[in-house]
């Protein structure tokens, strides 16, 4: 601010400034500290109660209960400045002596006068007034007089617009009506009794009269079409599912008819034909080499594991340790020994030897197959 500014401010008389502030504070404190009161009466149980005349306003927090909705709106009053009120009579603002103006409005929804049989008609009767909700106490409206209409239900609601002052209270009666016959229809004025706050007289509101025309029933083509479409879609899905299930069942039946692929041991029987050809061509050593590989493979399928790297003696030891039928074990050992004789000992097999070898291989496969089936049966048991 600087020395010049401070010197300029110091020219205002300090006493004047202080007096103005004091007056303002006193006025504000008097206004906020003391609530205006009407009269204080007594209830039947001698508890002091406060009754308010129409138009008067309470400084304490207001609470307006809307009967139909059960809502409570609270508008607390906040005293900004601390109360500087002193003891003495309170300053009471003059109370208004004019009753609130209540207006009535009726309307239909939809806003028309021609309705179709089968439809619904909504009638709204609204009472509104400026003031508090307690200023007007409407009572239950009379049953409406209807022609060719029936009342399906009535909903009462209240609202206050807007919050704060001044406020408008609106009480709405929502009638749900349904035409019962074609032709002329009417809604006679509805009487809604009410009382003003503090008043004993029962006053009445009257709604408007409505003359309607009821037209023949109108089919909800939109709904019908949509329903038909939905039905078609659902039926279509169900049909597709049923057809897929039927196809699956048909395929399963056809698959059941198809014989299962041959087991590995059965496939190996076909390999014996190739070995026999080697015998026929005179390649005895190669044939017995194939026989030995054949037996290793068959034993490998039965005993598990790759037996290519085991010698004949090791195979024999493996066979001795497995729980095999002695006939199977002996037959396998006999074939392997014969293979060793031909392959390593220079033994030249005769035709009878070759035939016997093929036959023994076939018998061995049969024995191994039987053991597989027996093993499966044991598992089931």
């Amino acid at each position: 601010m600087g020395r010049a500014g401070r010197r300029g401010w110091s020219k205002v008389p300090s006493l004047l400034r202080a007096r103005h502030w004091l007056i303002a504070v006193v006025l504000l404190a008097g206004w906020t500290a003391t609530p205006p009161a009407a009269y204080v009466g007594a209830s039947s149980d001698d508890r002091p109660i406060t009754k308010w005349l129409p138009g008067e306003r309470k400084p304490e927090p207001t609470s307006s209960a809307l009967p139909s909705l059960g809502l409570t709106l609270t508008t607390p009053s906040v005293s900004i400045l601390p109360s500087l009120a002193t003891t003495g009579p309170a300053i009471v603002p003059p109370a208004p002596s004019v009753a609130p103006t209540v207006s009535v409005r009726s309307r239909l929804e939809p806003d028309q006068r021609r309705f179709h049989l089968g439809g619904e008609i909504a009638l709204f009767v609204e009472l509104s007034w400026v003031g508090d909700a307690g200023d007007v106490a409407p009572e239950a409206p009379e049953e409406p007089t209807l022609m060719n209409l029936t009342k399906k239900g009535m909903v009462q609601s209240s609202r206050i617009l807007p919050q704060g002052s001044p406020q408008t209270v609106v009480v709405t009666y929502h009638y749900i009506l349904e035409p019962t016959a074609e032709g002329a229809a009417s809604i006679e004025p509805i009487q809604i009794p009410y009382r003003l706050r503090g008043g004993s007289d029962l006053l009445r509101f009257t709604s408007d009269r409505f003359a309607l025309t009821i037209l023949p029933r109108r089919w909800p083509w939109g709904k019908i079409l949509f329903g038909a479409f939905a039905t078609v879609v659902v039926l279509g899905i169900a049909t597709a599912a049923a057809m897929a299930t039927a196809a699956r069942i048909r395929r399963a039946r056809e698959a059941a008819k198809v014989p299962p692929p041959p087991s590995p041991l059965e496939q190996m029987k076909a390999e014996l034909g190739g070995i026999r050809r080697l015998f026929t061509e005179g390649a005895a050593k190669d044939a017995y080499d194939s026989v030995e590989r054949f037996i290793r493979k068959a034993l490998g399928l039965r005993l598990g594991g790759d037996l290519r790297y085991a010698t004949i003696s090791e195979l024999g030891e493996r066979l001795a340790n497995e729980t095999l039928d002695s006939a199977v074990r002996d037959r396998a050992a006999s074939i392997l020994d014969r293979c060793a004789q031909v392959k390593f000992a220079g033994y030249v097999p005769t035709v009878a030897d070759q035939d016997q070898t093929i036959a023994d291989c076939r018998l061995l496969l049969d024995d191994l197959e039987k053991k597989d089936e027996g093993k499966g049966l044991k598992d089931e048991l």
Partner: protein, 329 residues
């Protein structure tokens, strides 16, 4: 059957009868160690020398001495020490004062069976002298060359525990040994039998079963035992797998093998398989014979890389993997 092979079979059955008697006679003294006894016989029958690795007290010396007694062979045991000289092994020229001449004094190597105990304790000069005698079957002392007696078998031992102050045999010298055996402890049952048999300190005596000339005759029969081409192919595949494992689907071994087995391994494998077939009274070799002797023939012929040593892979492990991945005929 092929008549020649038939004849060989008959001859093998005839000549191999002493095998069971030898094994039985050794069994009177030695408990268990059947594997070592068979390998000693294989060495004798194939004219191959054996390197034995095992901790002290496993009856190595007793087994060899007993075998020598059974076959009426001269047995000589030599304890190799760092101060041993070649002359202590092969002999030297001795000056005879009465006639002023130098006479060759033969050393302990002039025996049928030599047990060179802890060969890795002797200096390289002594090792070379012994290995030369093993290879040449003769010894030169001064100007004279003396043949070694037949059969001639050297069993060299190595102590796997005490390696300090030793002279490890170079790989080239180890390769001259036909078989390398790893002797292990006996099991509990065998230990019990040892205690029962030897607990009083008395060693049972054995009888002579055969003469050295019977061994020489058996060697001739062993060399005639039939090996089929498929077996030969199996042998060559095994040896080649030690050199080029990738070709046999063993690429994971390629980084572990520095040098594979030499052609000497192929020859020894075939000879040892024949001898094994002879011990089984067969005149032909089958893959079981190869598998049985393969580990003893090949374990010391594979030089492993540092990578293998880092992963504690030995030549024996590599040989086992090769056998597990080469299809038997």
């Amino acid at each position: 059957m092929n008549p020649e092979i038939q004849a060989i079979n008959e001859r093998v059955k005839e000549e191999s009868r002493f095998v069971d008697r030898i094994v039985g006679e050794i069994g009177k003294v030695i408990v268990g160690q059947r594997h070592m006894v068979e390998r000693l016989l294989i060495g004798l029958l194939c004219n191959g020398h054996i390197l034995i690795e095992g901790v002290p007290g496993l009856a190595k010396t007793l087994s060899v001495r007993t075998l020598a007694s059974i076959i009426a062979l001269r047995f000589q045991r030599m304890q190799f020490t760092p101060d041993l000289l070649p002359a202590d092994l092969i002999g030297t020229m001795i000056y005879q004062q009465h006639d002023g001449k130098f006479v060759a004094k033969k050393g302990p190597v002039f025996a049928n069976i030599i047990l060179a105990d802890e060969i890795n304790r002797a200096p390289a000069k002594v090792q070379s002298a012994l290995l030369e005698a093993m290879q040449e079957h003769q010894v030169t002392i001064g100007e004279c060359t003396f043949p070694l007696p037949e059969p001639f078998l050297v069993l060299a031992t190595q102590n796997p525990i005490e390696q300090e102050g030793t002279y490890p045999l170079p790989e080239a010298q180890i390769d001259r040994f036909m078989l390398k055996l790893n002797i292990t402890y006996p099991n509990k049952k065998e230990e019990w039998a040892i205690l029962e048999r030897m607990g009083d300190g008395h060693i049972p005596s054995v009888e002579v079963v055969i003469r050295p000339e019977d061994i020489v005759r058996a060697r001739a029969v062993v060399s005639q035992i039939y090996i089929d081409d498929k077996i030969k192919e199996y042998i060559i595949n095994l040896v080649f797998a030690t050199r080029e494992p990738k070709q046999f689907g063993l690429s994971n071994l390629e980084n572990f093998i520095e040098y594979g087995a030499s052609p000497r391994a192929t020859l020894y494998l075939a000879q040892a398989a024949r001898a094994h077939a002879f011990l089984r009274h067969r005149g032909h070799v089958i893959p079981d014979d190869i598998k049985s002797v393969g580990l003893d023939v090949l374990r010391h012929r594979i030089i492993v890389t540092y990578e293998a040593e880092a992963e504690e892979l030995t030549g024996e492990d590599i040989v086992r993997k090769i056998f597990d991945n080469i299809e038997a005929p």
